[in-house]
Symmetry: C2
DNA sequence: ACATCCCATGTTATCGTTATCACACCGGCA
DNA sequence: TGCCGGTGTGATAACGATAACATGGGATGT
């Protein structure tokens, strides 16, 4: 909206339009439009002729004109925080898979873990009058909510299902993930847990996960020893360093609950380097179910949040909303707790 | 183009348009349009009034109408094969970073490693009359080329720079990557190489990489012993299995050149499991520079193709083309060969 | 044979914005 | 005084497609 100096060459001209086809075939534009959209009520003879002409002329439909004329805009605005790990790429693959077969196209924006940026990006995307919106998480700007209310289109919030959404919600209960892992840990006989967490501001999902974990442990009378956090992006070396610190700080620790699998992998290496038997002396668990962990021995316990399925469900929810289903659908994706080989027993 | 049953609710109505703002301010639509686009030639008084009214009414511009009326479409069509590993997410992050500051927005499509699908997706995206196109690789359908020729907009082909492109090209020489790794291997004293490769049909980039590798070894009088391939997506376990097979098949092997780091990680585990000292007895190398490898010891030799930089350069190339630079720019991104700790010496 | 209905096709208006040209109005200069 | 150039603002016509309605003619029914 604020480009001071736009010195761009004129738009490419001399495009083929439906009227060119109409002229070439000796029919009206309307007939061409009908054929190209696969509407019935056009004689097979003319339809074939129109299709051939369109192909031979290299006609590319102009969605812009179509959309303005009142046709639905086959776009879904998708805002994810970023793509620095495999989480959102997988969600997007699922979304795409779920959209396959419909003519809907995802348009991507990055919210950068910041609700103000998200609002800005949303405004940008809404300018295209998409048919639906997919947002990440349940926390949003007031501006965002207001825009969505005015837009009055299906909205699906993904990833997190702890709380109430604007419209549809597809996600896992992060709180539940923490609770389940705490129970698994206790059942396996571990007692002294330390959390390795990201210092990322406002990572609500991490927060509720750890809250569920801590509450459950406290209720069972085995509160966590403490937690350490790191700044910036996750990486294996960071996990390693963090775990090493944890070991020296709380020698009695016998379980490391890591905020993701990357950190957990590093923690595993640190435990091995420190000569701690895993899981006999010290167990650990991560979060996410990133594929690359498949190859590490022992296999790290984790919670797979089925990101592909989340994306696909979101897509399906959008399709059914557009087909007339009521607002406010919720779908809980049941995370899969994988005990791996880093929990005792 | 062929949705048999479209029963969608009518488009959301009651939107605020420029004419509402015009009416509220007592000026013409044209004046509103000028203000909102930041054109000069409107008195500051009116401009401020218009902007305030727009804000308070919750006006969201309609790019569709604007685009149809002749304004540039601030969209860049981007087609990547998929997102099953971190390669393309990183490219996209770079692209996004490079586009930041301009008003250009990337719209993503998946080509699925198939030129026919690519052509289809391209048609879909061109229907939105984007201002530029980014494609992956240099190999494309005739349909694709024809469409691009007609569209007459900047095109940038990324990743691969072995060959001639349609317009701009940003990438690394895969052939050069193979050559460099072969030289490094020879210099390190390895002699009996085996290739671990994906059976993915038509992966031109892998092919030229390995070709460069093989040619260089042959010229040096130490041809590769052989190669093994796997089907489907890469994973650490597959690398492990493949490497195990290689060890039993060619016991004299002393170097495994893997098509990517995931496979290389698996191969490393296989070597360790077989009791082979790395790199003394057997060295290995991967390809890509995926971040998660940072934590594995020994650090695996690899070639970092600087995917983020590729994306960013592509973005910059597009911006300069749109600003008037001539067609056919080329930018060679120099890959970074990381010897890690799995090459002797 | 005549009214009726349906099917294939055409006509007209419209979507919201921007390009283009036209028009006042103002100050300066000869 | 009259002409000129600039500067704000408005009127009008696209842009390319689709919705909604109109039309003509053949098949159908009685």
């Amino acid at each position: 909206m604020t480009s001071p100096s736009r010195s761009f060459p004129p738009r490419p001209v001399s495009k083929i339009s439906q009227s060119d086809i109409a002229a070439a075939c000796g029919v009206s534009e309307m007939t061409v439009s009908r054929v190209l959209r696969g509407q019935r009520g056009v004689s097979g003879d003319i339809a074939a002729r129109v299709r051939n002409t369109a192909r031979s002329l290299g006609y590319v439909p102009n969605r812009i004109a179509g959309a303005l004329a009142g046709a639905r805009v086959p776009l879904v605005a998708v805002i994810v925080p970023g793509m620095s790990n495999m989480v959102f790429p997988e969600v997007l693959m699922g979304l795409n898979a779920g959209l396959e077969g419909s003519d809907l196209q995802a348009v991507l924006g990055f919210g950068k873990y910041d609700t103000a940026t998200e609002a800005q990006v949303l405004a940008e995307l809404l300018a295209w009058r998409p048919s639906a919106v997919v947002l990440t998480g349940l926390e949003h700007d007031d501006t965002t909510r207001a825009m969505l209310a005015r837009a009055d289109i299906p909205v699906v919030e993904i990833m997190d299902s702890d709380g109430t959404g604007i419209d549809g919600v597809v996600g896992v209960s992060q709180h539940g993930v923490g609770v389940a892992m705490a129970r698994a840990m206790i059942a396996a006989g571990h007692r002294n847990a330390v959390l390795l967490r990201s210092a990322q501001q406002g990572d609500r999902r991490q927060d509720s996960r750890f809250r569920g974990f801590e509450e459950t442990l406290r209720a069972a009378g085995v509160p966590v020893l403490g937690s350490l956090s790191y700044n910036g992006a996750s990486s294996v070396p960071k996990g390693r360093a963090l775990a090493a610190t944890a070991l020296s700080h709380w020698p009695e620790v016998d379980f490391l609950y890591c905020t993701n699998d990357m950190i957990a992998a590093g923690a595993l290496f640190a435990l091995q380097a420190a000569g701690r038997k895993v899981p006999e002396e010290t167990g650990l668990a991560g979060f996410s179910g990133l594929e690359f962990l498949d190859g590490i021995t022992p296999r790290i316990a984790t919670t797979d949040t089925r990101r592909f399925d989340i994306g696909r469900s979101a897509a399906r929810m959008i399709l059914s909303r557009l087909a007339g289903a009521p607002r406010g659908a919720r779908e809980e994706i049941t995370p899969r707790l994988d005990r791996g080989q880093t929990l005792r027993g």
